[in-house]
């Protein structure tokens, strides 16, 4: 008995070690077994709960950094949103252009141009375009959008051009009431930027609000058929031979960003003949 006790005393640690290692191996080998499922579940729940609590406390310390990051993100997203809004407006405009009838562009080659600057508040408002002689632009060429007439090129530099638009008191264009086939002269009186005047239309002509007015082609400046505007108001003053006709311009000067220069040249024989006819 004493020998056995002595033997146990010597080997006790080794036997315990073997027992613990054996138990570990059993757990390791039965890891996927049903017996361990409850134990694993309890352990996972306890550790997950503690980690969750810690995470909540730690998240308080991260708030300032998170806040800063969110502010930056917000700024970035706002900038992106603004870009998208601009892109949407441009897209809608271009989509309109795409769908617009292209009879004008078929007749004369069109040079697409971007507006570099434009006057808004003067009486001789002008536009500067992003193309010039190097793109084939010459003085006198009409500037249009698919919505209608903008004006004509006054001066053409090598890379930029100056345009006299309809919001210019010196601007005149020979026009035609489409429905009535009656001609007149359109000009801007320098008062309201959203109003053009159609002059020299006899009072006997029946004009209705909404009637279209286009370039007549009678002058050498513009080809016929470019929309100038639509009748907004008509007044016949007693004793006067011509009606007072207000037009709403077809092109919105304020939102104008791009246009086309039509490489229109009047017929050379007509150019040669017309001054002769005007000689006194």
């Amino acid at each position: 008995m004493a020998t056995l006790w002595h033997f146990w005393g010597r080997l006790r640690d080794y036997l315990t070690l073997a027992l613990l290692l054996g138990l570990s191996m059993v757990l390791l080998l039965r890891y996927q077994g049903e017996e361990l499922r409850l134990l694993r579940l309890l352990a996972l729940s306890a550790t997950a709960w503690m980690q969750d609590q810690t995470e909540q406390v730690l998240s308080l310390f991260r708030l300032a950094r998170e806040n800063e990051r969110l502010r930056e993100e917000n700024l970035r997203l706002s900038a992106e949103l603004n870009k998208l809004r601009t892109a949407e407006v441009l897209y809608q405009r271009l989509e309109g252009w795409w769908k617009a009838p292209d009879s004008l562009f078929r007749a004369w080659p069109a040079v697409p141009v971007r507006l570099v600057s434009k006057d808004l508040t003067g009486l001789q408002n002008r536009l500067v375009l992003s193309a010039g002689r190097s793109e084939g632009i010459e003085p006198g060429m009409p500037v249009v959008t698919p919505e209608g007439l903008v004006g004509k090129v006054l001066v053409a530099g090598s890379r930029y051009s100056l345009v006299q638009g309809y919001l210019n008191t010196d601007w005149r264009v020979s026009a035609l009431l489409v429905r009535q086939r009656v001609a007149g002269i359109v000009r801007w009186d320098g008062k309201s930027p959203n109003r053009l005047l159609l002059e020299y239309v006899p009072t006997g002509v029946l004009i209705q609000v909404g009637d279209s007015v286009v370039t007549s082609g009678y002058s050498l400046d513009y080809p016929p058929g470019i929309l100038i505007g639509r009748v907004r108001a008509v007044r016949v003053d007693p004793g006067k031979p011509f009606s007072y006709v207000e037009l709403e311009p077809a092109v919105n000067w304020w939102t104008l960003e791009a246009a086309f220069v039509l490489r229109f040249r009047p017929d050379s024989e007509r150019v040669a003949l017309e001054p002769i006819g005007r000689r006194p």
Partner: protein, 160 residues
């Protein structure tokens, strides 16, 4: 009995530290092993028996945290036992220098990681270079580094 109550309190404290802090300090897959350091510390001070039991309980705790039942029990029990075969004579002078503490931590972690790597290799196909480089050697270095940094700020008192 009082000593064992102290061990249980220590195991609880280090277990919490492991779960809430050390388990988050993952570096290329390696994690500093606080419970192993406790096991080695007890084994060096008190010998193989207490080292083995503390290793076993520490293994249970770590297995519960990592859901790796049996692996940590096995490796820490064996490490506690083997480190405890060479207890220090003056236990009160143990680990009072950060450099020495780091070397002891490195050797203990290397021994422990060897058992662990063998178990891993037996159980599943793994990339040997990553296992040896990052987890076996890197894990031991990482644990030793954390111990060294820890001892720069805190050293166990002589009465512990």
């Amino acid at each position: 009995m009082t000593r064992w109550l102290g061990y249980i309190a220590l195991l609880g404290a280090v277990g919490l530290l492991q779960l809430l802090l050390l388990e988050r300090l993952v570096l290329w897959g390696a994690v500093p092993d606080g419970l192993l350091m406790l096991t080695a510390w007890v084994a060096l001070r008190r010998g193989r028996r207490e080292g083995m039991w503390i290793g076993f309980i520490a293994g249970v705790l770590l297995d519960a945290m990592r859901d790796s039942w049996g692996v940590q029990m096995f490796t820490k029990t064996l490490t506690g036992f083997l480190v405890g075969l060479y207890p220090v004579e003056d236990r009160h002078s143990l680990l009072h220098r950060p450099g020495e503490a780091a070397v002891v931590a490195f050797l203990s972690a290397l021994l422990h990681n060897t058992f662990w790597a063998v178990l891993v290799l037996l159980g599943q196909p793994v990339h040997l270079g990553r296992l040896i480089g990052f987890l076996w050697l890197g894990g031991a270095v990482y644990t030793a580094l954390v111990v060294w940094i820890g001892f720069l700020f805190w050293r166990p008192s002589r009465g512990t």
